[in-house]
Symmetry: T
Subunit: 147 residues, 12 copies
């Protein structure tokens, strides 16, 4: 049994409520239950959301030396935070980055994520499916590493 974390940054607690034409009308809590059921045999999936950049860094440090994988959607902090990038570099657990919407089809300042270079990979624009695939990748990746 593996331990995975999904970490959500600023404003992602409003999923299902905020700009539904961009982010969809499903709350993440509901989707999470589906995910947890889907991965029930493989991994425990923990969820953490904060609007505080510092709280995300605290969490990354807390779980980043024991957990088997982290899926990170840092929201607006993706485009501005060197501190988050440093946290990802500093920990050992592999991190996969997810963006629900296609950030390349939106405002210029959303086209660059400071985090991508230090994550294993990035999934963009695939809606909530991005989280499923990211977890699958971490699962497969882990098998590879521990084979």
């Amino acid at each position: 049994m593996k331990t995975f974390y999904i970490l959500h940054g600023a404003n992602l607690n409003l999923l299902g409520k905020r700009e539904p034409d961009i982010y969809g009308a499903v709350s993440f809590e509901d989707f999470l239950q589906v995910l947890q059921a889907q991965f029930a045999d493989i991994a425990q999936i923990h969820y953490f959301q904060s609007n505080h950049e510092g709280a995300l860094i605290d969490k990354l440090q807390e779980v980043g030396f024991q957990a088997d994988g982290i899926v990170l959607n840092a929201g607006g902090y993706s485009h501005t935070s060197v501190a988050l990038r440093d946290a990802i570099s500093a920990i050992i657990t592999p991190v996969v980055e997810v963006h629900i919407s296609n950030i390349y089809a939106r405002e210029e300042f959303r086209h660059t994520s400071l985090l991508s270079a230090v994550c294993k990979g990035t999934l963009t624009g695939l809606g909530l499916h991005g989280y499923t695939f990211a977890l699958q990748y971490l699962h497969l990746h882990h098998k590879l590493l521990t084979a």
Copy 2:
């Protein structure tokens, strides 16, 4: 009776104490009492200040679906925070941006606010009067919407 919020970002708790040649020598608490008296018949004015970007986002989310208007001076975060911008986009309550000093007459990096594009409007360089006008605008704006 309407409900308005004034939200203050980083270092604005030092008003009256910090660089008085730029920001004046009056504390915001004293000015707030004058404002509240002035708008007593129209609206309840709540005040919140934090040096934490995340706390400002939390507050915007908390009040941004019920309050009738928000006046926001995010201080230094105005120039760097995509996360705050996203919070303003995500909520329903109209937000008006205020800067006490004339940011266009100061350092280059203060000339751009990431928040302006998603606020209703911006008042810059009018000192504490900016808050009064912002509240008046929200009052008038509200009348328009509910007329």
Copy 3:
């Protein structure tokens, strides 16, 4: 009794006629009458519009050593005119800048006003209310200076 001027640059004579979804459907002449009535006890409000950058400079120089305050919306010249900026610097009367629409939510080249740094302050995106507040500010500002 004070003397205030409202100066309008290029294309603002078309207010109420031009792009009503951006600028509203009220002509400025109608609005001016409301303004003049509102400030009748405090100040005489004069109005001048020109599509000529030079005529605006002529006017600023003509009134800028006697009037008590100037409200300036230079339209498209705001973004390109060093000559207008120099005129504002050269005169003594305080100038407040107004933009009816939220210029930060429009084309990139409208995000910068060469005039802002030499005006007392700037009001953006508040519609015609911006003019009312600008005059109120000049009125209050004047009381301060002559107290």
Copy 4:
């Protein structure tokens, strides 16, 4: 019978006299007579030239709500005038932009016209033929619109 305007900006009154290796040796007045004869059955062609940015805006506003088409060569103002661009956006009559010389083969600052995005189309480098084609387009375009 339709009404078309040809509007000429700065220094275009010197055509035939100014830098003939770039602009040719024919005066525009002579060419205009040929044009007017050519379109005699279709439209009345009026001509206006000014070195004043403001006068061009005045003219665009004056004719831009009744005329059937405008051909505009704003000369040097093409590359710097937001105010002219706003005037074209503000009026109803369709505007076609013409440049006599190939501006893309000249100095860097001539490669960008602020006006192109709000005109129907742009003809560059075709010499005086550009005017003929622009008028033909307006003629055809009008037929389309009024069909």
Copy 5:
């Protein structure tokens, strides 16, 4: 009798099928027949389309030393191809550039054509009329050269 070529770059074979709100609903083959009829007394008009940058260069080289004129719409290659630009410089036949839509009113990266500086002229945003005018220009231009 003259020989003119119309050369079409990437995706222009989809005209009438692709994004009809931008490019119109007429296929180029249909329009070509109208064009050929219109110029029947003056010139033979040949048509070539390819999605291959290299094939366009091959064609330019093949016809660029005998034909009397070339009308080129290189599609997306206009904005990125130094190799096409070099081919236009290398040949003798005059080339006129056409863009159906107004590229200045679209994405930033479409505002610059690497080809314009080495073509005789450019027609932008005039729809299919651009081709007619370009051919007329080449016809007139040729008369001038051979007079």
Copy 6:
């Protein structure tokens, strides 16, 4: 039964042979067989590779009005080709972009893909798993559309 295409651009025929430390040591042909087996019940997976930008555009046009989904890794063309971007916009079949390596951790010029904005989504840095997830997404996406 659905029809999916995997399209590979420049140099991806060398997978398993080229820079194995970046791209891995497995040839794509071998991996394709695994993929086809995995999706045998759901879809037929066709594969096309070319080093020619034009051939990729030809293929996109050929299959882009009938196929149910396209997975595209355009290799080096991702960073430079407006023509490919236009082809993706012009067709109807949804396209998902894949990059095997983490392009954000490599040279600056690889950080931007001109294609991302017009694809449904992008998967980067997940190795060959990216293809599996992209196909899964197209499968799920299709169900959504045809539900």
Copy 7:
């Protein structure tokens, strides 16, 4: 006897009145009399000032085919006017550019004059002496040309 013109652009009518710490406390009219006396034997010196960019172009065109030399301080227009630059290129009379203050020691946007490249030369930061030297240069230059 030669004929020289001194042309002054925006706000230079305020010399002696405007920002005396930058531009000095002498009015240009007083200084002009000294200049005219000094050059009495050599040339007639005419003076023209306007805040209108177009009026400066009109004047340059009017005198630029007969006068023996022009000294031009276009004020704020120096940094923004392609139209003025074109006028200088279009005329025959040599033009020398003068700036009273050291524009390189002031704001960034004053460091570039669009006019310098098409003037004979530029004198910057030498106060009113700049005009004297410019006239001397034109005098000497003329002797050279007519020798």
Copy 8:
């Protein structure tokens, strides 16, 4: 006896644990004891670390009007935080900036610290010695100020 503070920003709690090839293998707590012993006769040295930008601002405000000196290594926030910069400007206690690694030999975005301009000075690349020297400087600086 003086009071000095060492303030640490994001991820510096991982010193000794995080990327030891860049930051060394000593934990800051161990090094702090050495420092405190070294300065025992001169000053009390307090230590505060937080991954929260806001908490660093709170702390700067709390101690910045009484303490005798602050040594600040803000980690990743150094490169992005206007709010921290404003806090340093707002307080009275002198601040010295330290970076353990040579930030100029690392990624481009680490080459600029927004904080340096408002600190007394900056020590970069000297490892943990930087802290010792910064405290010595504050000690010497204080003597100077109070002499």
Copy 9:
């Protein structure tokens, strides 16, 4: 006996015909015979030219795992092709880049070759001699490698 390839990109088939003032009046075929004679004892020299970027990549892949050296002049593709760069990186045979003219003395966009960083070296501006020296280098280089 070694095997060397000379690969020529877009428009280089026109050597001797195209812009002779820049590229000389000798056809490459004639020069090739001289080269082949000169290196007859050392190496077989094959020649391949294409205007197709993809054909150049195909050829590089075809010969790049067996040949002893490649001399590449990619013409206009040098400045724009990431795909060609990737092909050079992917193969084993050493590649030397040649430009006949001095690209640094021509247009700005010719000053950068995307290929140089992954070639062994670059020879620019030496006319056809560049090919001779490149082959000599490959010959010497090979001796070194196989010594």
Copy 10:
């Protein structure tokens, strides 16, 4: 009697020999004799030329605390030398900058002089007359200072 220095930087020893179409065919030594005669009653004029940036700094320091004025044409160093700029700031003697040719009509990198901001003024494009005027200015300036 005053003491003035003319300082010449790199390659100005070749005047009369180097690129006579840009710099004229007169050697500076010959011109210097004319200058010295012209100013014989007012000042002693010393001349120093070096191709060494350091030697120019040495000289500026040597004479910059006693001489009454310095005329500096630093040649190519004008555009690149912060060290020379610092030397001018460090000394007391006023410095006037001269460029013989019109640097604004030449290559882009010649349009900026790092020295201008710290010199009293700059004379550009007036040929050797620039030196005469610069000396006259220093003479007049000195009278002003010592009056």
Copy 11:
């Protein structure tokens, strides 16, 4: 006994004389005696100053293979000299960079030192104390290396 060098670039011989508000009123020679006394038991401290970039490179090469440490303040050359940077890379002795003033609080062009990336570390804004700390660091560093 170790051997340390302090190397001073352009204009630093004027310390105590030049701009005392920025650099202080103490001459470096006086300060050097204090330094030498302070380090008398540990190291011999040699001093070299030159306004010549080349002389600094000569000196770095001369001492850079035997000395135990070099403290370098290159003055204005810090911001422009690739040649000095290369010299630091080429030698073996560790180099520490010192700037007396806070270069980040001055002109933009002083914010970047080309030398920092190849020095061990940089001390900025600490006045003459910077030299003391730099020497202490080299002393400690040396102990480390030879332990």
Copy 12:
């Protein structure tokens, strides 16, 4: 018998000693003897190295009107020296530029040489062979000129 010069700029006296992985382990003096032997029948080869930009300019001027050819590797000065560029323009002898390492595969600031545009040609990345080829080119070039 011809006379050729090899001129070496900053730090090239350390060849064989400095960073041997980039520049090789052979001293230039040893290589020079080989070169001189190789060209013994054709030319006398003189060698000059200096770390002083000014000394290189002095030398270029000294030999640049008599020698038959110059091979120049200016080291770090290549990327920053307008003064050296001017010297090459000023002289008559043809200059060929050599870089031993592939500067395009190193730091960004090494990708641009200010000298290339005014040299005959440039050889980069070919190690010491670059000098041999440069001399051969000058020899062949000379024959051409004197034929």
